[in-house]
Amino acid sequence: MSPTYDSSTVPAISVSELTHSFKGHQALNQVSFAVMPQTLHGFVGPNGAGKTTTLKAICTLLKPNWGEVSVFGHSVRADPISVREKIGFMPDHFSMYRQMTVFEYLDFFAAAYGLNLGQRDKVIDDVLTLTDMDGRRNDLISGLSRGMQQRVSLARVLVHDPDLLLLDEPASGLDPRARIELMEILRALRAMGKTIFISSHILTELAELCDSVTIIDRGQIKFSGPMDALLDADDETPRFSLRLGQPPENAVELLQSVDGVVTAEQPEYGSPGEFDLELEAGRDSNLVLQSLIGLGIPILSFSQRRKQLNQAFMDLTTRGVRT
């Protein structure tokens, strides 16, 4: 459940007309979007769309040619040190001191953020517990698996208790188990009130996880807003999935004859009892369900089909590699 905001709420991230080019190559063109506090915001785009450039501008590493970026009201251009204190940035590749132990690594970053000895002890215990790395605190980082290193990297960005986490492809290279565990940690962090801005290619997991999403393609924003608004967009003719217990041979004809059903068809790779229905626009689905029950065929399930994030992504972005 995402929190509600009034107009006076300061966005966690506010990007306005961000424009940047590298040696004549337009990486970002008038990019504008906002991320509200305590939300999990997905940032999606094809390779070379400008995701990492945007992330670097937000986390103060890159000074854009034009436009304004602020984090909790602090301009990244005018006040980068305050911004850095509020954010934790995890880049897409590991940058770890492999000769340190997990504890030394976290102790180093905690000290760098000015925490005293007592605070460091407590915060390191907390982040190790959160990332389930408590038992490996004295292990050398070079001896950890990639998934564990990813957890240590996440623990590192949490040591100074930032309000905003910027994660660039955090699940890349992880096995399915490590990926699921990472998503659980992100859910826990959101429940703790953190704002999480996550750039990822794994769209199915983003759709489950995120409250809002921004889609970028070729340096331009294609969509930015709540996830529901994206997935329900262009849904004038609602689609439903129907599963029947013992479908007769002429089931398709029977279903098409029901009042309010525009088309009925069996999906190409579905089981024999599965059907896709397209209803008339504005038609009450409850009434259609009543009519279907009236056919006398056992109904196992009847649910609305939402557009998948994959589909929305493909609809909004352009085919081919950016040149």
Binding site: I81, P91, S95, F109, A111, Y113, L140, S145, R156
Partner: protein, 516 residues
């Protein structure tokens, strides 16, 4: 196998030929040669044998360049693959040790020999300036090429034997220093009242070292001590020893090519047996002191080494003057002081070449930039860590100075020497740090060469300014005038020479943080 080896070797040479930067370096080198010729021509207006002086200077610069390349450019041939973890991939792909060595090391040797070759037409102009013959030039270049062959293959051996570039560079530096120090040390020992067998052995070793030494050979060629022969004992000894090191590297390659860190699943947890304690208030100083400079263990080892050097000089003194109550004579005290100073300079240069380079290699610049510090604060903390690691050497220098400060203060040329040393060290360390952010291996040799070339120009002015300050102060009865001159020099040097380099280091660091 031959076809794979040939393909990799060809590819390596072709990529060097097609790359832009090696040609720029060669062009820069030839431009420098032209400048040197111009300087020699100007010198010829008032001096004798300017061609010989010019060529002598070029040869010495080449010896320095080749030796420094040994501890930086050649030494990373195999270790850079180990550092990046790609050596195992090459082995898995069925690439033989010979192919790897040929493509990684021998191609570098050939590329470097090209630098010698490109000088040849320009140096022939020295003949027209007078004082040197074409036979001397050819013999000198053959001696330099043989020396390069030896250095490159000794560095290759270090690269094969060691696990990381840092360790290989340290190993190669130690071997080179031992080679150069062996001559004077053996000569001194041979003059002492020791058993005849020991003296005989020392003399034999000394003669062998002299036969292998490129410096001795160049002296012989350029001072006309011997009849010029193209292929001398030095040439054959250097080439044979280089070939031997190549074969040894090849034989030991499989034994030492195991990847340093192969733990993709984290099945075997690595736990360190000792703790390094909690992070300090200056976290980057803590990190670099412990994990870059080696911490207390390396400090202790360095202290033992420096004390050992001083004790060795004291031992010589005791053998020379058994009844003397003093530990060191004036001459040996100065020698010990300059030896420790030289070792300290090498140590500084090695730290300078790696302190930022390792961050770039580990892709950790962005993580450091994200800390709530300005970039200069981050860099200053890193300098602080290196300064801490240099303490043993500095402390020994200080103690040597305090032991008999009159020996040093009585030396009139000391202020100029100190200013020149400071200028050379600061300039070369700054340049090394800057270049390490641009290039993979060549930072140290390029920086040393640039500093060597610029020291007579800018450093000479600095030393001159110190003298002028001292004399002006003496005329006006100011006792601390010399030190005032030194301070003026330092401010001048920092403002006009070092500050621009420091600003560019900060810029480059920031640029790398967003590119990483």
């Amino acid at each position: 196998m031959i076809s794979g080896t040939r393909t990799l070797f060809n590819w390596s040479l072709k990529s060097d030929a097609q790359a832009f930067s090696p040609h720029i370096v060669r062009l820069g080198f030839s431009g420098f040669m032209l400048l040197a010729i111009l300087a020699a021509w100007a010198d010829s207006l008032g001096g004798i044998a300017p061609g010989l002086n010019f060529f002598d200077w070029i040869c010495r610069l080449n010896v320095l360049l080749i030796s420094v390349s040994g501890i930086s450019y050649f030494v990373s041939a195999v270790t850079e693959e180990k550092d990046s973890g790609s050596l195992a991939l090459l082995r898995l792909a069925g690439v033989s040790p010979l192919a790897i060595i040929l493509s990684k090391s021998t191609s570098r040797l050939i590329s470097s020999l090209m630098l010698l070759l490109i000088q040849l037409p320009f140096t022939f102009l020295a003949i027209t300036l007078g004082g040197i013959t074409w036979q001397q030039i050819i013999s000198s270049y053959l001696a330099l090429a043989a020396w390069m062959c030896l250095v490159a293959n000794v560095a290759l051996f270090c690269s094969v034997r060691c696990r990381t570039s840092g360790r290989a560079a340290t190993f190669a530096s130690a071997l080179l220093l031992a080679f150069f120090a062996a001559g004077p040390v053996l000569r001194q020992v041979a003059t002492l009242s020791l058993p005849a067998d020991v003296i005989q052995a020392c003399r034999g070793l000394y003669e062998e070292q002299q036969l292998m030494s490129v410096v001795t050979r160049l002296d012989a060629i350029l001072r006309g001590k011997v009849e010029v022969t193209f292929l001398s004992a030095q040439f054959w000894r250097n080439v044979t020893a280089g070939g031997g090191m190549f074969l040894l590297s090849l034989l030991l390659f499989n034994r030492y090519s195991d990847p340093t860190e192969m733990n993709p699943h984290g099945k075997s947890a690595k736990v360190r047996r000792f703790t390094v304690g909690r992070c300090w208030r200056l976290p980057l100083v803590w990190k670099d002191y412990l994990f870059f400079a080696g911490g207390s263990t390396i400090m202790l080892l360095k202290s033992i080494l420096y004390v050992g050097v001083v004790l060795a000089f004291a031992w010589f003194h005791n053998l020379q003057s058994p009844g003397d109550a003093r530990w060191l004579s004036s001459g040996l005290l100065q020698n010990a002081f300059f030896t420790v100073g030289g070792l300290l300079t090498v140590e500084m240069l090695l730290y300078a070449s790696n302190t930022l380079f390792m961050e770039a290699r580990q892709s950790s610049i962005a993580a450091l930039r994200m800390l709530p510090y300005q970039t200069p604060v981050v860099l200053l903390q890193k300098v602080g860590a290196c300064a801490l690691a240099l303490l043993p050497g500095v402390l020994i220098l200080f103690l040597l100075f305090m032991y008999r400060s009159d020996v040093f203060t009585a030396n009139d040329s000391l202020p100029q020497l100190a200013v020149l040393w400071l200028f050379f060290t600061l300039l070369s360390t700054h340049l090394t740090v800057l270049l390490s952010l641009y290039t993979k291996w060549a930072a140290l040799p390029i920086a040393v060469v640039v500093s060597t070339v610029s020291t007579p120009c800018i450093g000479g002015a600095a030393a001159g300014l110190a003298t002028v300050s001292a004399q002006a102060a003496a005329l006006n009865g100011i006792s601390w005038g010399m030190w005032f001159g030194v301070v003026v020099n330092l401010v001048w040097m920092w403002l006009f020479v070092l500050l621009p380099i420091e600003l560019e280091i900060v810029n480059r660091w920031n640029r790398l943080s967003r590119d990483s």
